[in-house]
């Protein structure tokens, strides 16, 4: 999947959930998009599968899935791809199950829509086991399941037809720690064993860096940094660094961590300054007058004047 210069606008208002976002996911790759609330994760997740959220419109940019422009594809073709080659597990996954259908029916529906008639059971049972769900959830209605179970059913639905790429928005944030761990392990496993590509959106720093190979950091609707996961400790952008410094890890003494003062503002107009300037400890005059470009630094990219100058000088 390749996302190129994607800009989204809220219809009828001067508000941009995403501005000039580019991103790619290779075959079998796991990519994390890391960002805090309002960063634009959910907007990007839906646009990435070619179906922007209601109330938002694409004003520029393209999304290619397997080389084909998925935003402008005839709907019938897009339907063929969905949940067969490309699946989405949305943020509020528990609310996305049909409320008056049993889980079995919802699963069967998606199975037969993609494979014609067939034994959905054989595809379902192994996945149930991997997800740690008892077989009786199949007979139940969504309201009879716990939040964690619903989240896993949504995951099961997305993985049922063994797609090449799954897009997941906050796959673990609604779960308790023990279930989070299970889901994380499962995602790693399907990537290794079935070669499923994964693009996931999260605010959880440690999940992003431990599950993904590449991490893209989203702030205020823009990509501010992209780096290989193993470069966690040498992140460059002040926001990424602030984020890495703020989440306490086990063993940290009290009061040893600092958050980032202030809060993120939505993008109201084409950026004319660094969106992080109001919170950035290293902000300079230029940061408030011009929008920093995204430049390549080493194996990653970063959008910050502190590195822009050096990169330009260097090449």
């Amino acid at each position: 999947m390749r996302i190129e210069h994607l800009t989204l606008k809220v219809s009828g208002r001067s508000l941009y959930p995403l501005w000039d976002v580019s991103l790619r996911v290779e075959d079998n790759e796991v990519v994390a998009v890391l960002g805090e609330s309002g960063g634009g994760k959910t907007s990007l997740a839906w646009a990435a599968v070619g179906r922007p959220l209601p109330g938002q419109e694409v004003v520029a940019g393209k999304v290619y899935f397997k080389g084909r422009d998925i935003l402008n594809m005839p709907p019938a073709e897009r339907r063929r791809i969905y949940f067969k080659e490309l699946s989405l597990v949305p943020q509020n996954a528990p609310d996305t199950l049909h409320p008056t259908q049993t889980v079995a029916r919802t699963l069967w529906e998606i199975y037969t829509a993609k494979n014609g008639k067939g034994e959905a059971r054989e595809a379902v049972l192994p996945l149930l086991e991997e997800l740690g769900l008892p077989e009786e959830v199949l007979r139940k209605y969504p309201h009879q399941l716990s939040g964690g179970q619903k989240q896993r059913v949504a995951l099961l639905l997305a993985l049922l037809n063994r797609p090449q790429l799954v897009v997941l928005d906050e796959p673990t944030s609604a779960l308790d720690v023990l279930t989070q761990k299970k889901v994380k392990d499962l995602l790693g496993k399907i990537n290794r064993e079935h070669g499923t590509g994964i693009l996931f959106f999260t605010h959880d720093v440690s999940l992003a860096f431990s599950l993904a190979r590449r991490v893209v950091v989203l702030y205020g609707g823009q990509v501010v940094e992209e780096l290989p996961a193993f470069k966690r400790e040498s992140a460059l952008h002040p926001y990424t660094r602030g984020l890495l410094a703020s989440g306490p890890r086990i063993g940290d003494p009290p009061l040893s961590r600092r958050g980032i003062p202030g809060y993120a503002l939505p993008l109201l107009a084409p950026p004319q300054a660094c969106s992080f300037a109001a919170r950035c400890p290293q902000a300079r005059d230029v940061c408030r007058k011009e929008a920093p470009p995204l430049v390549k630094v080493g194996e990653g990219q970063v959008r910050c004047f502190a590195y822009a100058a050096g990169a330009q000088r260097g090449g």
């Binding site: 805090e36 609330s37 716990s146 964690g148 308790d176 720690v177 023990l178 989070q180 761990k181 605010h203 720093v205 440690s206 602030g242 984020l243 703020s246 989440g247 306490p248 890890r249 086990i250 063993g251 940290d252 009290p254 009061l255 961590r257 600092r258 958050g259 980032i260 003062p261 202030g262 809060y263």
Partner: protein, 247 residues
């Protein structure tokens, strides 16, 4: 010990079945101590907090607060020295009240004179790091960020100068870059002598603020102790499982 709980029991009815949510909880909180209740969802953390705060009546057990018996079935009395902060800062503040009124409300209810209230509100806002207080007094909740809302909720809890602060997942709805500041704030309140009992499902956050962890599983405190000792040598499977999940 400021707060002592012995054998607290609570049942809920689910349809026809009786479900035991708390099955005899024993727990103590010392003066100036931060205790974190940690456990998977459904372990009964919030229920316990609500019983202590008097939002729910327990079905059994005893409790002592500041040396006096605390009625667990009678939910109104003996809670003047406690305050509770809810999990969701977006839902906990009345949207039609200004910050000054939200924070001052507990004092108005106690019929304190207007001037004293104004002074106490300003102090409470400063204590949670919202200064100058004047910049916030006339705002409505929707004009605040999530972290600021949680601070306002904390200020409201602190305005009565409680000796025990109860906090239910105080940071789980906040961004980490914002939540850690709230944790730091709780910690510094404790250094000034306040006792805090909080719940957390995030083990790392709990270890970060607490003097002592109490691991809850299936309605009981199965293990407790200082974070370092508990994590180095967990003796119960519930603790080990939680630990495995984060490392």
């Amino acid at each position: 010990m400021l707060l002592v709980l012995k054998g607290v029991v609570k049942h809920f009815r689910v349809g026809r079945e009786r479900q035991e949510v708390l099955a005899g909880v024993n727990l103590g909180v010392g003066r100036g101590e931060v205790v974190a209740l940690v456990g998977a969802s459904g372990a009964g953390k919030t229920t316990l907090l609500h019983i202590i705060a008097g939002l729910l009546a327990a079905d059994g057990g005893e409790a002592f607060f500041a040396g006096r018996p605390l009625a667990l079935r009678e939910t109104r009395q003996g809670r003047e020295q406690m305050s509770l902060v809810f999990q969701d800062p977006y839902a906990a503040l009345s949207p039609h009240l200004k910050v000054a009124d939200i924070v001052g409300e507990p004092l108005f209810i106690r019929r304190k004179p207007r001037q004293n209230v104004a002074r106490a509100v300003t102090e409470a806002l400063h204590a949670v790091g919202l200064h100058p207080a004047e910049a916030y007094l006339r705002r409505y909740p929707h004009q605040l960020s999530g972290g600021q809302r949680q601070r306002v909720a904390l200020a409201r809890a602190l305005v009565t100068k409680p000796t025990l602060l109860l906090a239910d997942e105080p940071t789980s709805m906040l961004d980490v870059s914002v939540g850690v500041e709230i944790l730091n704030l709780l910690r510094s309140l404790a250094e000034k002598g306040m006792s805090i009992l909080l719940t957390a499902h995030d083990l790392a956050a709990a270890c970060y603020v607490a003097d002592r962890l109490a691991i809850m599983a299936e309605g009981q405190v199965v293990e407790e102790g200082p974070p370092a000792r508990l994590l180095a040598a967990p003796s119960r499977s519930a603790t080990r499982e939680l630990l495995r999940a984060v490392t």
